[in-house]
């Protein structure tokens, strides 16, 4: 009987504790629901978008990409560039400090740049990998307390934008840390400090200095989309990411939150694999013809896909470059199946007795991009409708799709989304910097493009390169290796309690979030 009483008591305690549930956040706190936890806070190891979204509030950077998509100085007061464009000298602002109060000097900035590049430490994050490869980083050195010099192996107009991704931290504190401490107990240079990290549950940041409109930021890890939606509607979180279109009506009609949509910078495409990886496969020979590739652009109803499957209107792509840096003379290719059929006839691929022009395989990932499986199936149907018999194959991303992509054995048609930026067209175009480059998944070898690429990167400014860039984008529009679809729309759920506008580049910038009065 005593046991029964104990059980009843425990039950009563549990049921009498509704006040213990997640309550609405206090006014000085903002709560963000993310789908994935951070892996590390070691600035040289951070690699995922969710991870860097949090780290951006802990670590400051020399430059930052503002809401309008422009690269602007943050820790830097003045910039000078050597005549050959291979050395950048930055004068830091006065009075900078790290979170522990240690003054932040040029030596710390040089250390922050050199540490990720140290091969003996074998870092595998975004900075030593993608950023330094693109930047052509060679070394960094302190000139004096306020001036730091960054040396590059090649001139590039991407330099400042790429440097905006390198997290700055203080040398003394990091030299004294073990790798585990660097991962778990960051000492940053930004507005917030890591107060606690319950792995898999939540990460709490506390404000240490301006800017920042909230004293506390809580990042709650909520992997399941419907649970994130429920937490938002219940008022327990203020912002949620990756809202699926089918949940948008529930959020909008809740009265407590609304969906904020932004046309992102991720470029959704069907890639034409023109390389040896699919040589001999059905359809591989036919898509070598630029006329066929151009014809297929007319076959797919992109606005229809957006409205029916993504629940919104999309910004159409005219090339691989994000607006406003794209070629203003180009307009999206309209949905015109008759024109597609006419062009395919002219290209020498008429329908046979069964109504088929040729067969081809279209591969796509499942669960990687917004409603990807349905979008891929719809594209397959549109292509089949104009006589290109399309076999759709949906694959798991991490274990199957990604390895095939890296070895360039996808397709011959494959669905892909690639991140882009708003601050420099050459960043978006650099996917095709060489015919055999790692990101040239399509193995596109058009010599006109690569000749122009050299001219574009040799220019001192983007403005100077603009005529060449526009010519390249026109070529890409007409004969390129992508079936141009749309810039992926991103959906966020935002509580009515706060004012916040999402950015195009998938960065969650809470510095522009405020409490509604």
């Amino acid at each position: 009987m005593n046991t029964l009483n104990s059980l009843l008591l425990a039950g009563a305690v549990a049921l009498a504790a509704p006040s213990l549930s997640h309550a609405a956040p206090p006014d000085n706190t903002i709560v963000v629901g993310l789908s994935a936890d951070a892996a590390t806070f070691d600035p040289a190891q951070i690699s995922s978008r969710d991870n860097s979204n949090i780290a951006k509030h802990i670590f400051a950077t020399l430059f930052t990409v503002n809401f309008e998509g422009e690269v602007t100085p943050y820790l830097v007061d003045e910039t000078s560039v050597s005549a050959d464009g291979l050395s950048y000298t930055f004068t830091l602002k006065d009075g900078l400090t790290c979170e522990d109060g240690e003054p932040l000097t040029a030596e710390d900035v040089a250390y922050s740049f050199n540490r990720p590049a140290d091969k003996s430490l074998a870092f595998t994050g975004n900075t030593p990998g993608f950023v330094y490869t693109t930047l052509g980083f060679k070394s960094a050195e302190a000139v004096d307390d306020l001036n730091v010099k960054i040396n590059l192996s090649a001139k590039t107009t991407l330099a400042l934008g790429m440097m905006s991704q390198v997290y700055i931290h203080c040398k003394d504190s990091y030299e004294a840390m073990t790798p585990e401490e660097a991962a778990d107990k960051p000492i940053g240079s930004g507005s917030y400090r890591l107060a606690s990290w319950d792995r898999g549950s939540q990460i709490v940041l506390e404000k240490v200095k301006d800017p920042g409109n909230f004293e506390t930021i809580i990042w709650r890890i909520i992997p399941e989309a419907s649970t994130r939606t429920a937490e938002l509607i219940a008022g327990n979180v203020d912002i949620i990411t990756n809202v699926s279109p089918d949940q948008a009506p529930a959020i909008d009609s809740s009265g407590s939150a609304a969906v904020a949509k932004v046309n992102g910078t991720r470029r959704m495409q069907v890639g034409f694999n023109l390389g040896k990886g699919v040589e001999g496969m059905p359809g591989a020979k036919e898509i070598q013809d630029p006329k066929v590739r151009h014809a297929l652009q007319y076959a797919v109803d992109v606005p229809g896909i957006c409205s029916q499957l993504l629940g919104t209107e999309c910004t159409r792509m005219t090339s691989l470059v994000n607006p406003p840096n794209d070629n203003p003379e180009l307009t999206p290719i309209p949905y015109d199946p008759d024109k597609a059929e006419q062009l395919l006839d002219e290209a020498g691929y008429p329908r046979n007795a069964e109504g088929v022009r040729f067969s081809i395989r279209l591969q796509g990932p499942r669960g990687r991009y917004l409603n990807d499986a349905n979008v891929v199936q719809a594209i397959g149907q549109y292509l089949s409708d104009v006589g290109v018999q399309t076999e759709v194959e949906l694959l798991e991303w991490a274990t199957v799709y990604s390895p095939l992509l890296r070895t360039k054995e996808m397709g011959p048609l494959f669905f892909l989304g690639q991140g882009g930026v708003t601050w420099n067209p050459l960043y978006d175009m650099s996917l095709f910097s060489t015919p055999d480059g790692a990101t040239n998944y399509q193995s596109w070898t058009d010599q006109r493009w690569f000749d122009d690429w050299k001219l574009a990167v040799d220019a001192d400014t983007v403005e100077e390169a603009r005529p060449v860039i526009n010519r390249m984008l026109k070529l890409f529009h007409e004969e390129g290796p992508w079936l141009l679809l749309y810039f992926q729309p991103d959906f966020y759920g935002v509580s009515n309690r706060i004012e916040w506008t999402p950015r195009r580049d998938e960065e969650i910038d809470l510095f522009n979030a405020t409490l509604k009065s």
Binding site: L7, A10, V13, A14, L15, A17, P18, L20, S21, H22, A36, A39, T40, D42, Q45, A122, T124, N126, G129, F130, T133, T134, P179, E180, A183, D198, R199, G200, S201, R220, I221, I222, P223, E224, S226, T227, A230, E231, I233, A234, N236, W397, A398, T399, V400, S402, P403, R406, G437, A438, T439
Partner: protein, 324 residues
Amino acid sequence: MWTFIIRRLLQSAIVIIGVTLITFTALQMSGDPTYLYVSERATDEEIQRTREALGFDKPLPEQYLTFLGNLAQGDFGNSLSYKRPALDAVLEALPATLELTLFAMFLAIVVAIPLGVVASLNRGSAVDGSIMTVGMLGQSIPSFWLGIMMIMFFGLQMRILPISGHVPFIMPLLSGDWAQAFRNLPQALYYLIMPGFAVAFYSISRNARLVRSSMLEVLGQDFVRTARAKGISERAVVIRHALRNAWLPVVTMIGLEFGFLIGGVVVVEMVFSWPGIGRLVFNAINQRDIPVVQAAVVILALVFIALNLIVDLVYAKIDPRVKL
């Protein structure tokens, strides 16, 4: 009994080697994991350098033997995505999963047995029919769907239970902070109700049916008739005589139950944002984080083996016919 335990431990070592071999082979069959750990723009040299640094360039048997050798020293290698020892990541997530699984097992026993007894004592009645209908539903409803429905109803509409999250109890207990653990207990239980029930619902249903049929069989036996003939109260007949014999199959199920519940927690942990091993393994598989998957599978296999051993020992204790 000691001979039995030693024999079982030796068998367990073989099972563990089998588990590691199967896990290792299955994950390696899905391709070269190096590409997950280099940037999109990595050159061939960088890819090769990373492959060598992570040991993926070595022949598979060598990679496996290295793994086994390290395993013997408790070293599962570093997590490729968390950049820290894989065992640490798994052991950190284990308490949350144990909380959920043990709570679900608790529900699967304390709810199922009374339901099964009541159904058997009211065979053919509306009460029996209702319990069996619920039991059938419980075995038909997927746990993730049940979880989402519970969130919608109890979390969002009625707002009497938390939608997601976790308050630790075992972790502070293990770290010696008993005061904190017991301060957390009411909240920990509160947060456990929905995910625990979502995990346990299938087992409750199955166990209730099992107890019912077992009880019906026992209630018809001679010794129960004799007990009734001796004038023992019906309550004593049911609890002391019939139920004591009827729950032997249930005890057998408990050992197997753990493995089943562990399978169920993967989706439930995702739905309720529960920071346990299920979610960890799910993410690790997606990222092909081989060390974490191997560490998790081996640790869970060890727990499963230990639990089954305990069940066997308990079984021998409560059933004098069983000799070890």
